[in-house]
């Protein structure tokens, strides 16, 4: 799985086509975060490690599902692409149930990206953690 459709040789790109697409055309990017009213916010990573991801979610309270998932990422191409893909997975098919969103795995995101180079495998996929933090933030603010 990891190595599928990744390439470092010839004119092949460092990453596969899906990663490339999400890097150059990121989905669900939050442009104006100051005026966005979110139900939950999650921020993970640190500048020291080279990756910081922020995720904003709006929740369909009746259905208990994610209605909107916006994000911003400081990081390399695979960090940007993996957060973008995470946002697609969280919102497709009527939105991911909150309980499932908290269990989203990096492997599931990487699979949808068509794989990542080995050295990017562990470091650059943090989107699921940011999503989990955003869901917890929503649940905690609702409990208050």
């Amino acid at each position: 799985m990891r190595k599928r459709s990744t390439s470092c040789d010839g004119d092949g790109w460092l990453y596969g086509e899906v990663v490339r697409d999400h890097f150059f055309s990121p989905r669900n990017l939050l442009i104006d975060d100051a005026s966005y009213e979110a139900d939950g916010i999650g921020v993970v990573g640190s500048p020291a490690c080279g990756d910081v991801m922020a995720v904003w979610i709006r929740v369909d309270r009746g259905a208990g599902r994610i209605a909107e998932c916006k994000w911003r990422t400081f990081g390399c191409a695979s960090a940007i692409a993996s957060t973008s893909m995470m946002s697609v997975m969280a919102t497709e098919n009527g939105g991911m149930a909150l309980a499932r969103a908290k269990r989203l795995t990096p492997e599931a995101i990487i699979e949808r990206l068509g794989g990542l180079p080995d050295r990017k495998y562990h470091c650059s996929v943090l989107g699921h953690q940011a999503l989990r933090e955003a869901v917890k933030d929503f649940e905690e603010s609702r409990a208050r």
Partner: protein, 400 residues
Amino acid sequence: MKTVYLDHAATTPLDEEVLSRMLPYFGERYGNPSSMHGSGRRAARAIGDARERVARAIGASPDEVIFTGSGTESDNLALIGAARAYRSSGKRIVISAIEHKAVTEAAGALEREGFEVTVAPVDTRGMIDVAAVAALVRDDTVLVSVMLANNEIGTVLPVAELSEALRERRKKTGFPRIHTDACQAAGHLELNVAELGVDFLTLNGSKVYGPKGVGVLYRRRDARLSPLLVGGGQESGARAGTESVPLIVGVALALEKAERLREREAARLSRLRNFFIAELRARIPSVIVNGHPTRCLPHIVHLTVPGIEGESMVLMLDEAGVEAATGSACSANDLRPSHVLVATGQSDENVHGSVRFSLGRGTTEDELGYVLSVFPPIVQKLRGASALTTSYYAKEKHLV
């Protein structure tokens, strides 16, 4: 789409004249320089001629020129070879904090052999303090290795001043021996081994429009080396192995030509660099130009773009046809950020946000104009997607 190559510090294109002079030695002139017959003697003459050309370019004697397989090998041979040769005189070496990995890793190998390695710090501009480095030298210090110019940020280090500061000690004891890696300086700075006052100097072919796979190590006549490769005793016993005649012919011509073009080309690149930096500062808010403001190579422009990450910048530039480099961790094989940027005390997020443009013989103002038209929108796009530029992050983490 046109390609603008701005990674000459990684490697330069091969000069066509150099290529054409090398080609016969890949073909009909296949003799082994060690053979006694005509083919061998002709090969040996070609190498002798190459040795003389290299010697002239650096103010050395031909017998002080050793051909190796790369700049890395020359650095390894200088450090490990000299340290082993002089180990009975002392087991300590001093290197600067911004040496090429070929030096830092060679020093690491020496540490595992029981040598003590002292690393001299640099300031935020990548500059050493000559007196401070000289003060690190003790009686058991057999070798000091300080590069002539840094390959990432382009800072030119005061090697001549350092050897001057160590002159009295060296006259008295013969130590420390001094090595300098001049790979990135070649073709941009004057390389006179006597004026630099060094015992060893590293050069290679691939940074001077010559072939890859060949290096040069200058060794002062009275300096000793323990060889890393043993066998047939080639290169006066310093580096065994049948010589690659075409690559040796090529690197010699390339160095000779680089020296011939040096003053004119350095002046031209300096003007281009100043233009490029002024325009970048005008077009990219809060961009930081790294390295030393005056003691710098004329062809390296090293930037930090706060808020975004280097690999993203380089891949987007590549998509726009601009080939540049980054010291970002995400581009490195070991995922650690550049030790050079860390040594200059850059903040964590800035270490990850670096991009290096390195100019060369083919670089024109038009090309830089094209980069100036595509780079600012890339920065804007990536900053627009970055978590570090959000108001949330600014408020919560007190950053940016």
